[in-house]
Symmetry: C2
């Protein structure tokens, strides 16, 4: 178990081996058994398994090959549609379409996702989260037929492992953990904690090939540019407002 | 491992036994090794261990006794303060203070939280998530000295187990999992899937003692009333706007 949690890597290459329905049910059940707010279960899980559908879905994930090549794609969604429906037929208030519960349900959908990820990894499978789900939430919703009150939050590709990537770097544990109070960072602290990451030859390569001064600039002007972030943010916010917040 | 994920219960009563620093480091490291967007690690973990501080913190969690009685309280926060600081000293754009990245970082902080929860459970410890962290985000931020760009997302109490609660109910797996497309529910579907939960004698007791017609009304007029939800939502939204979105 320690090995599963400490030595995990995101896996993007999968073999053709099929995940049995029994294993998939166990993985999904692990998601559902995890904690959630008031036991309201404000999430739904959409499974994409059909070869043709995975191919279509991959378009919305910027054609990342793992969507088509994995065995199962799981999209976990915030879902107040089901709970609201239960309230409606019971003459009870519908009270969840607000900013607070969008966040509460996002947290619950993510807890469920991560339990799914760990359950899959505990069965010897590899997983990869796809951040593109947030960028392309509107198109993915349409593709999966999601009704109002349902917003895709996380997408995970799952399959048997066919690569052996190295462990990715992380900041030192002491840099992200604070005891009792948040200890804000000095410039020196920041320089020190990022040093190993900046000195990594792979990262130095990115700086060079993108003609930037340093790694931070690669992040914010190539990989996650302000212009792109703001454009995707606007699209995502409008979609959440229309589809969830009833604004 | 199956047992850990499928038979877990939230634990609210803890023994006095102390969690060693080695075990705590393993648990936190498991959080940090989990997936995150672009390896930007947009989260911080604040650990509350001091007895006096746990007592003070419990006030903000509506005096729920597990905050004072657990061994360790972990508050996982969205954190763009550290990454922005790195960008600032590297003459790179600060591009994360928007709605998109509030959500992306919320997802990453929650993935980290759930890896922490599972790591703790795998060591024989019990955990409980506290939803009050969202309701009281502003006060908790002040108490933990969180700077701008840092928002508490999830709070977990951790300790050695001193109770044996039953497994809580869940909707049938088939009711929350959809294959290929979202299958919207008919009134009959909803009635059928909630029947077991509604028939549970404990839930019937709640309906009776609250003088309501049914369980849905207990949820939306007693436990999570529209009035309360909307008030907490307004407070939370203003806090996120001021402290993260720079609106």
């Amino acid at each position: 178990m320690e090995d599963i949690l400490l030595n995990r890597r995101s896996i993007r290459k999968y073999s053709n081996k099929h995940i049995s329905q029994e294993t998939l049910d166990y993985i999904l059940q692990a998601g559902v058994r995890s904690s959630n707010c008031g036991n309201m279960q404000l999430y739904s899980i959409v499974v994409t398994r059909d070869t043709g559908k995975k191919k279509e879905l991959s378009k919305f994930h910027f054609n990342q090959p793992m969507v088509e090549n994995c065995d199962v794609v799981v999209t976990v969604c915030v879902d107040v549609n089901r709970f609201n429906h239960w309230c409606r037929i019971n003459n009870a208030d519908e009270s969840l379409n607000n900013f607070l519960f969008f966040n509460v349900a996002t947290i619950d959908a993510t807890i469920c996702s991560q339990a799914i990820a760990t359950a899959a990894e505990s069965k010897g499978l590899g997983i990869c989260y796809l951040g593109t789900v947030t960028y392309m939430a509107k198109d993915i919703s349409k593709f999966l037929d999601l009704p109002k009150g349902v917003v895709p939050i996380s997408t995970i590709t799952i399959g048997y492992i066919d690569e052996n990537p190295p462990l990715t770097e992380r900041l030192p544990l002491s840099s992200v953990v604070h005891y009792e109070k948040y200890n804000d960072y000095s410039d020196e602290d920041i320089k020190k904690m990022y040093k190993e990451i900046e000195d990594n030859p792979v990262n130095k390569g990115y700086v060079k090939e993108n003609h930037k001064d340093n790694l931070a600039q690669v992040f914010t002007s190539v990989r996650y540019s302000k212009k792109d972030n703001e454009a995707f943010s606007k699209t995502y916010e409008s979609f959440v407002e229309e589809n969830f917040l009833n604004k």
